[in-house]
C-alpha cells in the first residue's frame, strides 16, 4: 500500500475536498474508488464508526471526516499553501465558516434535489440565504483565504460543481444573487488543483437526478 491512500467516491464533494488539499500541497497519493453498496474490508476497518468515505490513510493510520482530513493534511505537510492561516482569529473564522458549509450548504443542497412543492421553495430560499452569507464573508477577495486557496475555499469549492444542480432544481441563478461567489467559483475551477478534483457539473446533475429517482420525495 502506498504511504498515502484516499478511500473515496468519484462524485463526493467531501472526498473532493481531500483531493484538492492533497493536490494543492503536491502530495502523491493512491486514489481508491469505493463501492458503497459493497463496502470494502479496508473501508470498514478504517472507519468502523461511520463506515463512510472519505478516509485518508497515512502510513496505514486512518483519518476520517473531510474537514478533519483537510486540517490533518495542512498540519502533516506544513508547506505552502498553508490552508489554515497563521493568525488564530482568522483560523477560528475559517473553521466556523467551514462548519457552516457542512451544516447549511450540504443540507439545503440535499433538500433541493429531494423535495417538492413548498419544501422545495423553502430549500431554495435557505440556499440563497446561505450563499449570500458566504458571499458577504468572501467580501471581494480573490479567495476566502486571501490571495491563495485557504481552508474555506477547499471546504466549499467541490459544491460549485453542484451549483448547476441547485439552479436547475430551485429555479434560480447563483450569479444573479451572488455574483462575487460565482466569480470565485470560476476562479477556483481555473486552477489545476481544484479542476482535477471536481466532477463535471452536467455529470453531477445526472447523478442528482438518479438520487432523486431513488430517494426523492414523491
Amino acid at each position: 500500500m502506498a504511504d498515502v491512500v484516499l478511500l473515496d467516491l468519484w462524485v463526493s464533494p467531501f472526498g473532493q475536498r481531500c483531493r484538492i488539499a492533497l493536490a494543492a500541497k503536491g502530495v502523491a497519493y493512491e486514489y481508491r474508488e469505493q463501492d458503497l453498496s459493497n463496502k470494502s474490508e479496508l473501508l470498514l476497518r478504517s472507519n468502523p464508526v461511520h463506515r463512510m468515505i472519505p478516509v485518508l490513510l497515512h502510513g496505514g493510520r486512518p483519518v476520517c471526516e473531510s474537514l478533519l482530513i483537510v486540517q490533518y493534511i495542512d498540519e502533516a505537510w506544513p508547506v505552502a499553501p498553508r490552508l489554515l492561516p497563521g493568525d488564530p482569529y482568522a483560523r477560528a473564522q475559517a473553521r466556523f465558516w467551514a462548519d457552516f458549509v457542512d451544516k447549511k450548504i450540504f443540507d439545503c443542497g440535499t433538500r433541493l434535489w429531494k423535495c417538492n412543492g413548498a419544501a422545495l421553495e423553502q430549500a431554495t430560499r435557505d440556499m440563497i440565504e446561505a450563499l449570500g452569507a458566504l458571499e458577504a464573508e468572501l467580501g471581494g477577495k480573490d479567495y476566502f483565504g486571501g490571495e491563495d486557496l485557504g481552508f474555506l475555499d477547499v471546504a466549499l469549492a467541490p459544491f460549485t460543481a453542484w451549483f448547476r444542480t441547485y439552479e436547475q432544481c430551485g429555479g434560480f441563478a447563483v450569479a444573479e444573487h451572488c455574483p462575487g461567489l460565482a466569480a470565485w467559483a470560476d476562479r477556483c475551477r481555473g486552477r489545476d488543483d481544484v479542476a482535477s478534483a471536481l466532477t463535471d457539473p452536467d455529470k453531477v446533475y445526472e447523478f442528482a437526478l438518479t438520487l432523486k429517482e431513488k430517494f426523492g420525495d414523491k
Partner: protein
C-alpha cells in the same frame, strides 16, 4: 496583550458555554462573563453572532467568534504557553476532533431523546441507543484516565458536561444509561463502568467542577415545571361532572397540582399511588367516570391527556400511558 478584553457571552445552564469557560480557566485567563437571556436575545449577541445567534460567543480584543469547539481550539492557540488542551501530534489532533464531532452529532441527540422520553417499552430502546453511542465514545478512553491521557484534554472539555447532565437525566427519566442504580429498565441492564469512572474523575478536577452548573441548580431547571397549563380539555370534562382519578406519584409536583385543581373545581377525584416510590413523574393517567360506569370517550380522554401533557418542556408531550377503565 493576550488577556486584553476577554468576554464570554453565555447562559449559566449551557454545556457549550461551559466548554469555553473550562478552557479559559484551565489557561488561567480572566474574563468578563456577560449573561444572556436566550428567551430575549440582546442586540449585543445578535451583533456578535448574526449567523447562528447562539451562545457561547467569545469576544477577544473586540473580535467575536462562535461555535464552542472552534472557540476552545482558538483559546488553546492564543494562550499556547498555558495548559495544553489539544494534543501536539497532528494524528492525535485529528482523532480528538473526530470524537468531539461524534459526541456532538451522535451522542448528544441520543442522550437528549432519553431525557424527553416517557417510561415504557419505547424508552428502553432509546436508552439502549444512548448507551451504544457512549460505548463507542468509550473507545477513545480505553486505557486512559481521561480522554486527553493523564490529564484533561480537548475531548474531556467537549464532553465533560455529560458527567453533570447524564446522572440528572437518568434520575428524571428513571433510566440507567451509565449507572445501574434502581432505575433499570428491562432491556438495558448494563452500565458503562469506564464512563462512570471518568465521570467521577472529571468531577474531581476543580476547574471542571467549578465551571459546570451546580447539580442543585440544574436539577430543578430540568424537571418538568408545575405551571398551570392549557386545561381546556380538562375543564370540558369537569363541566359534565365526571369523576377523575389520577394515578400519579404521590407527592410529585404533577399529583399536587392536579389534586389542587380538582379541589378548586369541586371535582371528585382520587389520586392513586403510582408506586414509583417518590420519583416525581406522572407516568400515567387513569380516567374513570362517575356513576353509571360509562367508559370515557377516547376523544375526551385524549383531551385530558393533552391538557396534562401540554407543557413548556417537550418531554411530557410523549408522556403518558392512558388507561381508560370503567368505574368499579
Amino acid at each position: 496583550m493576550a488577556e486584553e478584553g476577554v468576554k464570554v457571552v453565555g447562559m449559566w445552564a449551557s454545556p457549550f458555554v461551559a466548554r469555553v469557560e473550562m478552557a479559559l480557566r484551565l489557561k488561567g485567563v480572566t474574563y468578563e462573563y456577560l449573561r444572556e437571556d436566550l428567551a430575549n436575545k440582546s442586540e449585543m449577541l445578535l451583533r456578535y453572532n448574526p449567523v447562528t445567534k447562539k451562545v457561547p460567543v467569545l469576544v477577544h480584543g473586540g473580535k467575536p467568534m462562535a461555535e464552542s469547539a472552534v472557540i476552545v481550539e482558538y483559546i488553546d492557540e492564543v494562550w499556547k504557553d498555558g495548559y495544553p488542551i489539544m494534543p501536539a501530534d497532528p494524528y492525535e489532533r485529528a482523532q480528538a476532533r473526530f470524537w468531539a464531532r461524534y459526541a456532538d452529532e451522535k451522542c448528544n441527540p441520543a442522550i437528549y431523546v432519553v431525557y424527553t422520553s416517557a417510561i415504557g417499552e419505547g424508552q428502553a430502546k432509546l436508552v439502549h441507543e444512548a448507551q451504544e453511542c457512549l460505548k463507542t465514545l468509550q473507545k477513545a478512553l480505553e486505557g486512559k484516565k481521561f480522554f486527553g491521557g493523564d490529564a484533561v484534554g480537548y475531548l474531556d472539555i467537549v464532553v465533560g458536561w455529560y458527567a453533570r447532565w447524564v446522572p440528572i437525566i437518568e434520575e428524571l427519566s428513571a433510566t440507567s444509561i451509565v449507572t445501574l442504580g434502581g432505575f433499570s429498565t428491562s432491556v438495558t441492564d448494563q452500565e458503562l463502568p469506564m464512563i462512570k469512572a471518568w465521570f467521577d474523575r472529571i468531577l474531581a478536577i476543580d476547574v471542571v467542577r467549578e465551571t459546570l452548573p451546580p447539580r442543585d441548580k440544574l436539577l430543578p431547571l430540568c424537571k418538568p415545571d408545575s405551571d398551570w397549563v392549557n386545561l381546556g380539555g380538562f375543564w370540558s370534562l369537569v363541566a359534565v361532572g365526571w369523576i377523575v382519578s389520577v394515578m400519579a406519584c404521590v407527592g410529585s409536583s404533577n399529583a399536587v397540582w392536579v389534586t389542587a385543581m380538582m379541589t378548586w373545581a369541586g371535582v371528585h377525584g382520587v389520586v392513586l399511588d403510582g408506586g414509583w416510590g417518590g420519583r416525581s413523574r406522572v407516568s400515567s393517567l387513569s380516567l374513570t367516570t362517575g356513576e353509571g360506569g360509562t367508559p370515557l370517550d377516547v376523544r375526551a380522554a385524549t383531551l385530558v391527556v393533552g391538557a396534562v401533557a401540554h407543557r413548556r418542556r417537550p418531554r411530557l408531550e410523549c408522556c403518558p400511558v392512558v388507561a381508560v377503565a370503567r368505574a368499579a
